[in-house]
Point group: C2
Chain length 338, copies 2
């Protein structure tokens, strides 16, 4: 089985560039969401801890199976740890043998951002130039860069309650093509925004902003409202916008729509991508992609990274599966130690 | 994060011996099943493939979280591959950080066998001396050895439809303390057995034997009936024995009791271990442990192996989780490649 650790993934990204990776991930996810009915889909398995959650996210089609282990522990950052870390696995359905074990902390940030960009591709105004980034934590630069792949973003308005995190965002985003404008408040940061991406970490029912604060025609990519009791938007937005989700069965328990009736949902993103339902229909409507993170996104990026790792000869072999002369003789492993 | 691959585990077992490992696993599981209500338990997540199943098996208490990825593809052996391979992970609940990634193909065989022995400890006659092993595949030697830890087994009667697998079993079990007696048929192999362990691989509703074939007072450890449509015993046994399961919510869909009404179940094994319900009550009753494999068993063995690996300084460090100076600066991994 191949192992791709953090160093291997960095090597891959330094070979192909984050721009190409973003475009390939976006394209892989668009392709996979368009063949929605070929997948075996289920809500993720969630275990609640005192200070966070641990989730298992499986997904498969007839050929390949993937899952991700991922946590969410907002208090980790105070102890110098990431609030989200993840590990993923890809296996073949025909024999059930795992073929890739992969770091997914970085990949989760990348696929979450690419999924937001995919949503914006179908839901944001074509002439969107102003992006607001609310929450400049571990995910923020990835979100901004991916969004810049689908719209010509000229200005990035940003805000975080942690000024150190704002400085970090500014440092990382300098020279990447957009004017950077910091704000002291959420309301100011979003007032001219065509696209708003929210990724805050507090495990509570936050209200970052309401419908009245939004510019007409704005698109919201809501990232941080992604588990039971953890939401970011004023509920008045939910009933006044075109609201799109990834997988309703999961999002109804985890997304912003926890705070609304399920009938506010316009559709699942695959329905927009395939043209079964309309995306944006005019320049004034408010659109909201209530993205909680779905296992199919991990499937898409794991399959892509596996292909790229072969192409660029990246990764290590690990002996986590027994290789036996006689597959019924597992016990031989204990007898003749080679 | 620590990686324990197949070689590492072999090293650990050659340090401490399979006998001690079996005893420690049995003891760890007995301890954990006795504190049943401290765990967050759920049926495993099952994905059906054309020729098998892929399962995710999570389990946690307030301190630690474990899961196992495991497949079941009986046709694999014809292609020189194992029908079951597995990988496990152990994490801390307080921060969600994984701390161990472990081979679990061998560990699954070991914990399945130890669980069977734990069942027999409470359900088989004390004076059981004759063990029948039906199905001498990858799991069989582990099952026999573990059973020898809880009862003084003098004779092992065994049968498989694959004579090569029978020869392999004989070869592996020679000199381990029991007389080995091969049989051409299941009926002959079980007729004098005090304990019968069934571990066949066919994905069908098999009928290896019926109630009339059993010696009075026999105990059955049914291993191979472990997923939808895959059972091994004639249904007439189910209503005529004291039937014990691991976790009813899972076993009702996966175990031998698929072919019976749920009310044939005497209890869950933790109830017997804690004394809430009686185990064996006389020397003539037939007892059946309808063991499908439960996530708590993986939790117990992963936690144990993690402790032993530290004690014996076994395993490797892998860089699958990012180490960051600023936990909010995940993006730094892409900027300054060290």
């Amino acid at each position: 089985m191949k192992l791709i650790d953090v160093h291997d993934l960095r090597e891959l990204i330094s070979c192909i560039g984050i721009g190409r990776l973003n475009r390939e991930v976006l394209s892989a996810m668009e392709h996979d969401f368009a063949r929605w009915h070929e997948f075996s889909l289920s809500p993720r398995h969630v275990t609640y801890c005192q200070d966070g959650v641990i989730e298992l996210m499986p997904c498969s089609d007839n050929e390949q199976y993937s899952f991700k282990y991922v946590n969410g522990h907002p208090k980790n950052t105070a102890a110098g740890k990431l609030s989200v870390v993840a590990v993923g696995l890809l296996a073949d359905m025909v024999d059930g043998y795992p073929k890739l074990l992969c770091e997914m902390t970085l990949l989760t940030a990348i696929r979450t951002a690419a999924m937001g960009a995919l949503g914006a591709k179908y839901l944001a105004r074509d002439n969107s130039t102003d992006l607001a980034v609310i929450g400049t934590g571990a995910q923020s630069e990835f979100l901004a860069l991916a969004m810049m792949e689908v719209r010509t973003i000229k200005r990035i308005h940003y805000h975080d309650i942690d000024t150190k995190a704002m400085a970090k965002f500014e440092h990382n985003m300098q020279g990447l093509g957009a004017e950077l404008i910091p704000y002291d408040s959420v309301e100011q940061a979003i007032k001219d925004a065509d696209i708003i991406t929210t990724a805050t970490a507090a495990r509570c029912q936050a209200q970052l902003f309401g419908y009245g604060h939004l510019k007409p025609g704005a698109h919201i990519h809501a990232v941080g409202g992604d588990s039971e009791g953890k939401t970011e938007l004023n509920p008045d937005i939910l009933s006044n916008c075109k609201l799109v989700v990834e997988f309703l069965e999961q999002t109804k328990d985890e997304g912003e729509i926890q705070n609304a009736l399920v009938d506010v949902v316009h559709g699942e993103i695959w329905e927009i991508i395939t043209g079964n339902k309309p995306g944006r229909e005019n320049a004034r409507e408010i659109t909201l992609f209530d993205a909680v993170g779905f296992a199919l996104e991990d499937y898409s990026i794991l399959k892509l990274v596996y292909r790229l790792a072969h192409e660029y000869n990246i990764g290590q072999e690990i002996s986590i599966l027994p290789a036996l002369e006689d597959p019924k003789d597992l016990f031989s492993l204990l007898k003749d130690k080679k």
